[in-house]
């Protein structure tokens, strides 16, 4: 393992704020909400201290925050914001507009449960509610990934084949407020990597006036949506290329998914976010006892990495999919639903078990994940979703 350089102790929120400082966006418009408040609070200090050239807009709501970013982005600026939970929910309306207008805005998102009942702790119901919005979605396992993914997200979103906005999310408190040693890049290297934003069309370009956001009825809406669909499909290739380039330059490569000890695994779990870290500890322990188990972490949920997941799980006998959100469709939660959908194409299909865990920040422990693996290995799984850690 190469020696790590320039290590700094940072919480997830600090890591994301530092990434934003180095990206130095033209406009940041934000409204505070736990547990994402610190991201923009720290960033606003950078603005006050003159460390960035950003125009910081202190708006009156998250709806306005994303609206201001949309206006800024359409005008030709690189725009970013940060939020969580109800804040993201208040942005939902504008998220579809940012995506539909093909504006590459990056949201630093901290996953938190949605009300009611009111709860400030981590689960993934907020971004899962936005999964059809046209935003790219990157889920981070730790602060390092959050920092690296923010930097990559700018490039991914602004790529001419993509031109879509993104959420880069961390699990509330588990990542956002926990301090880790992360490897930071020198400012000038980040600046060079992200480059400057050069939109093809921008509203403040007075020499080339155009209209953006006009009414688009039966005769054109479908074609424009078809373009958006294609952009989401093409994003997979771009995310892979930029993740690889990041690795070549800075030593940490990224892909749509990450696999852990999956090569010979008979049982595997699929998981998003910080729980992947806990699962790795369980896998290492159980492997010592000869259990053939592994894990697939979905880093990018939008676009959904169908091909990669199918390839990675084709030889696994039983797969447990862990969702930190239910989805309320009365059957299976969203991650399981999509994993099952893509594995259905395989001739030899693995058995699939569904687990919902950690709602409202309920702890997910090493023991709970161990139990899941034991259940998967026992062959006694069924099609009913199981709720981990809930009192019966």
């Amino acid at each position: 393992m190469p020696e790590k350089k320039n290590l700094k102790a940072k919480t997830g929120n600090e890591a994301m704020a530092e990434a934003m400082r180095q990206i130095n966006p033209d406009v940041v418009a934000a409204y505070p909400i736990t547990p994402a408040t610190e991201i923009v609070q720290i960033f606003s200090q950078f603005v006050a201290d003159g460390l960035v050239n950003t125009e910081f807009v202190a708006v009156e709501s998250e709806h306005s925050a994303l609206s201001a970013c949309i206006g800024a982005s359409a005008a030709g600026a690189r725009a970013m914001t940060g939020t969580s939970s109800q804040g993201l929910a208040l942005m939902y309306e504008m998220m579809y507009i940012a995506a539909g207008l093909r504006l590459p805005i990056v949201i630093a998102e901290v996953n938190r449960a949605l009300s009611a009942p009111i709860n400030i702790h981590g689960d993934q119901s907020d971004t899962m509610g936005a999964r059809d919005s046209g935003f790219l979605q990157i889920y981070c396992e730790n602060s390092q990934e959050a920092y690296d993914s923010m930097i990559q997200a700018v490039r991914i979103c602004e790529h001419p084949d993509v031109l879509l906005p993104a959420t880069v999310s961390t699990d509330g408190f588990i990542i956002s407020h926990c301090m880790e040693a992360i490897e930071m890049l020198p400012d000038e290297q980040v600046k060079e990597f992200v480059g400057s934003y050069k939109p093809k069309n921008w509203l403040l370009d007075v020499d080339h006036p155009f209209t953006l956001g006009a009414i688009d009825l039966q005769d054109y809406y479908f074609e424009h949506k078809r373009q958006e669909i294609e952009a989401m499909r093409k994003a997979t290739k771009v995310i892979k290329e930029i993740g690889k380039e990041f690795g070549q330059k800075f030593g940490r490569s990224y892909d749509m998914i990450e696999t852990y000890k999956l090569e010979d695994a008979e049982a595997a779990i699929v998981v998003l976010g910080s729980t992947a870290g806990t699962a790795k500890v369980v896998i290492d322990e159980m492997r010592k006892q000869g259990k053939k188990i592994g894990m697939l972490k979905i880093r990018v949920f939008r676009p959904f990495p169908f091909d990669d997941i199918r390839e990675a799980l084709k030889n696994v006998k039983v797969v447990g999919v862990m969702d930190r959100h239910d989805g309320y469709n009365g059957y299976v939660p969203p991650v399981c639903s999509e994993v099952r959908s893509c594995l259905y194409e395989l001739d030899k299909k693995p058995k699939i078990a569904s687990y919902v865990y950690g709602l409202g920040g309920r702890d997910i422990t090493v023991e709970m994940i161990t139990d899941i693996y034991q259940e998967l290995l026992s062959g006694k799984t069924d099609t009913n979703t199981k709720y981990i850690g809930v009192r019966e």
Binding site: F210, T211, H224
Partner: protein, 102 residues
């Protein structure tokens, strides 16, 4: 004068991304073809006051080097404001309205 455009609906592969629309402009379209009366300029009565140019709601008075030179009939709707406002020379109007021959 730009060539007259005819709208052709493009497929998703050829359309500009998102609902990008070039700035709206009637310049490229013939908007005066439903006119029933047209203004006719009589140069010998014209004192170059440019009232017609000031009052024309369709920017259809063609002015070159500060001089009125005629009308843009692709865009003139025949409203007659220019003829009404024209002071003319010694009581003789420099603009009169004539029926369009169809």
């Amino acid at each position: 004068m730009a060539d007259i455009k005819v709208e052709k609906k493009k497929g998703w592969k050829d359309l500009p991304a998102c609902d990008y629309l070039e700035a709206g402009s009637a310049a490229a379209f013939e908007t005066g073809d439903w006119r029933s009366e047209k203004p006719v300029w009589i140069p010998e009565n014209c004192i170059q006051c440019l009232f017609c140019w000031v009052y024309c709601p369709d920017s259809s008075v063609i002015v070159k080097d500060g001089q009125m030179t005629g009308f843009d009939y692709k865009h003139c709707k025949g409203c007659g404001i220019c003829a009404t406002e024209c002071p003319g020379k010694k009581g003789n109007k420099a603009i009169k309205m004539e029926a369009e021959k169809k």
